[in-house]
């Protein structure tokens, strides 16, 4: 059992997210994270889905996703060279004084931005791969994380490789 990253190109039709989510639910596949947005092609979206499972479950996930009519292409990019990013917003307790200074210093080390400063808290914005954000999250916990949100991972393959599908015309 391990985490796999799937890059999924889908037609941007109403209900496509429900179809994908429903498939994971009813077949009992575990989604770790799912990020979706528009992409380079008009009327298409790209999803990055992180799934936990063994090899045979992963094979089923991909095959079942491929059966959805609105899914154009599914690639497991776990083993390929990718650029992976996740964005997190973290609201952390930071009383003015020495804690605040420590928190700011941590932000600095992680190249996180302070995007809001309140009386007792600051909000930090950080991007990076999943492990980096995990690490920052862990370190900040001792100060007290009030709220946290992560976008889920998005990923692209490095170099010229692309997740794309050729157009099919049918005259039925």
């Amino acid at each position: 059992m391990r985490a796999h990253t799937l890059s999924v190109l889908v037609e941007n039709k109403p209900g496509v997210l429900a179809r994908v989510a429903g498939l994971f639910r009813r077949r009992g596949f575990n989604i770790e994270s799912l990020a979706v947005g528009t992409c380079e092609e008009p009327n298409m979206s790209r999803m990055t889905i992180v799934v936990i499972g063994d090899e045979s479950q992963l094979e089923q996930v991909q095959k079942q996703l491929n059966k959805l009519i609105d899914v154009v292409k599914v690639s497991d990019i776990t083993e390929t060279e990718t650029v992976e990013r996740e964005l997190a917003l973290i609201k952390v307790s930071a009383e003015p004084g020495s804690t605040r200074a420590e928190v700011m210093q941590l932000a600095n080390i992680f190249r996180a931005q302070i995007v809001d400063v309140g009386a007792k808290t600051v909000i930090m914005e950080v991007t990076g791969d999943t492990t980096k954000i995990d690490a920052l999250e862990k370190l900040l916990r001792q100060y007290g994380i009030k709220e946290l949100i992560r976008t889920g991972k998005i990923a692209l393959q490095r170099g010229a490789k692309i997740v794309k599908s050729t157009k099919e015309r049918v005259s039925a």
Binding site: N66, I69, V72, A172
Partner: protein
């Protein structure tokens, strides 16, 4: 200009639809108005579930896409079981539902239900049409998706204003459609096929395990040719019955829970299993770890997701059964001698043939055997679900594909009678028999009204045991004969038929069986026979749930 409703009806015609099954209501009125003077025949059922099953029966009997039509809300919801049934058995149907106007969508309007949401997991694809200009394309896509690759149901939900709005005629129904996400593989992978050929030639104890995929892909001739060429015996699933003639020397009959002993022994001892158009369903494999434990497995299927889903395979081949079998036939040689294997199988066949004990009561197996010999493999046999279904699968001699329609995957009681109606309209020249249980028949008994109205000449043979027989059998065998809520009161089905103006009779003894069946066959219109069978007759052999398929109960006398 053209209305959406008009586009729907013209699109159906363009797809070659001659008959649809449906039930009207408020939001489909515009479509019904177009049907009023259309050449398409509409059969008014008595419950929308029956419309879906009839479309399914039509599709299975003909190989063409079946169509059903219902109104929004309750109408659409009533289709659900029929759609799920078609999904599980890979049957191409297009279900058209009306929907509340787009302006009211999501408002809990009168008779609104989210039928695309409800049917998402039980359709191959579905559509909620938002604009009239999309309708023509969507209907074309729906038919293409339903029938192409692994077939299945597609639902189109059409809001009332989409039906009434007008669009320009030109281009309303496109010539060409583009489906980027739907590209089934038909041709098998050459390297995998070469590996398969090699395994087939080397095998000394091979078995072909053939299923519904053979029927849908029209591959029966190829199946037979390959079997005869190589001397490989063939066992079929419930869905595959008719793929090979029952009386062919290489036929092993059905395998699995209620399969023949010799089919299950052969699979268990085989060194090669050539699985074609099957999905290793749990009713077939029993305890999956003990299924074909010594065999290399070649699996041919049009749906890649079925390969390796339940059982690891050695040679996966994604492709159309007919196309792939043809390539194998062209390459394969007779291969290793199989005389010892075939004679072992002959011995099993003799020693462990299907059998039942004669007694005082009327035996359902006898009835099926008599019907089988009277019809000589002609006609279309449809079943309900339960013991009636298994006895028919075991004792009816199927000789042709598409001569056996049954609810396999979902096991839907009430499927048979409406599916018979659909089968009749698909192939009006054939005699259609529904073999029913008294429980199942009462699940869609209202269709007597449809049959009466159109004088649909379907015949129903009710194997009436006044029990939910199959459930009672499980209670007898595994729950200490505690018959909890499985007894049914005697119903005089012939009288019910009479009330609808349909001929019928009640049969209580063995001597009356053949004359009654003959009467049904010779009567021009519909006919109902109420066979009062031995009440506690069981279906044997039987693999208990969770056991290996060679661990069968053979039936002991009580």
């Amino acid at each position: 200009m053209k209305s959406g409703a008009r586009i729907v009806v013209e699109s159906l015609q363009r797809e070659g639809v001659d008959t649809i099954f449906g039930y009207p209501g408020g939001v489909v009125l515009p479509i019904y108005d177009e049907l009023y003077d259309s050449p398409i025949r509409h059969i008014l059922v008595r419950h929308e579930q029956a419309a879906a099953h009839a479309a399914d029966g039509y599709a299975r009997a003909s190989g063409r896409v079946g169509v059903c039509l219902a109104t929004s809300g309750p109408g659409a919801c009533n289709l659900v079981t029929g759609i799920a049934n078609a999904y599980m058995d890979s049957v191409p149907i297009v279900a058209i539902t009306g929907q509340v106007p787009t302006s009211l969508l999501g408002n809990d309007a009168f008779q609104e239900s989210d039928i695309t949401g409800i049917t998402m997991p039980i359709t191959k694809h579905n559509y909620l049409v938002k604009r009239t200009s999309e309708l023509g394309r969507i209907v074309r896509e729906a038919f293409y998706i339903a029938r192409t690759g692994r077939p299945g149901p597609v639902l189109i939900d059409i809001p009332k204003d989409v039906s009434t709005n007008q669009v320009r005629e030109e281009g309303a129904i496109p010539e060409e459609i583009t489906l980027r996400g739907f590209q089934p593989t038909f041709k098998g992978h050459a390297k995998q096929i070469a590996k398969a050929v090699e395994l087939i030639e080397e095998a000394e104890r091979p078995v072909i395990y053939a299923g519904g995929g053979i029927i849908f892909s029209e591959a029966s001739a190829e199946l037979l040719e390959l079997a005869e060429l190589t001397g490989m015996p063939v066992t079929t699933t419930l869905m595959g019955l008719g793929a090979i003639p029952c009386d062919h020397p290489l036929n092993l009959g059905m395998l699995g829970m209620h399969g023949t002993e010799y089919a299950n022994y052969a699979v268990t001892e085989s060194d090669l299993l050539l699985a074609v158009g099957v999905r290793f369903d749990d009713r077939v494999t029993g305890k999956v770890q003990s299924f074909a434990p010594h065999a290399s497995i070649i699996h041919i299927d049009i749906d890649p997701a079925e390969i390796g889903k339940n059982r690891k395979v050695d040679v996966p081949i994604v492709g159309d059964a007919k196309t792939v079998l043809r390539v194998i036939i062209n390459q394969v040689k007779k291969g290793a001698p199989k005389d010892a294997w075939l004679s072992k199988i002959r011995e099993w066949k003799e020693r462990h043939s299907l059998r039942y004990e004669e007694g005082d009561g009327l035996k359902p197996q006898y009835i099926i055997q008599q019907l089988s010999s009277l019809l000589k493999g002609e006609g279309i046999i449809v079943s309900e679900v339960g013991q009636n279904q298994m006895w028919t699968a075991q004792y009816y001699c199927f000789r042709r594909p598409r001569s056996w329609l049954t609810s396999g995957g979902l096991g839907t009681m009430g499927y048979g009678f409406p599916a018979s109606i659909g089968a009749h309209f698909a192939r009006p020249e054939e005699i259609v028999f529904d073999i029913a249980g008294d429980g199942s028949f009462q699940m869609n008994i209202q269709e007597l009204g449809t049959v009466a109205q159109y004088r649909i000449p379907v015949k129903v043979a009710i194997l009436n045991n006044m029990y939910l027989g199959m459930v009672r059998q499980w209670q007898e065998l595994f729950y200490n004969r505690r018959y909890s809520y499985t007894e049914l009161p005697p119903i005089d089905f012939a009288k019910i038929a009479a009330a609808y103006g349909i001929d019928g009779m009640c049969v209580e003894s063995r001597e009356e069986v053949v004359p009654a069946l003959k009467a049904a066959i010779e009567t021009e219109g519909p006919f109902i026979i109420d066979f009062r069978i031995e009440r506690e007759e069981n279906v044997f052999p039987m693999v208990p749930a969770g056991a290996a398929i060679n661990e069968m109960l053979r039936g002991q006398r009580r």
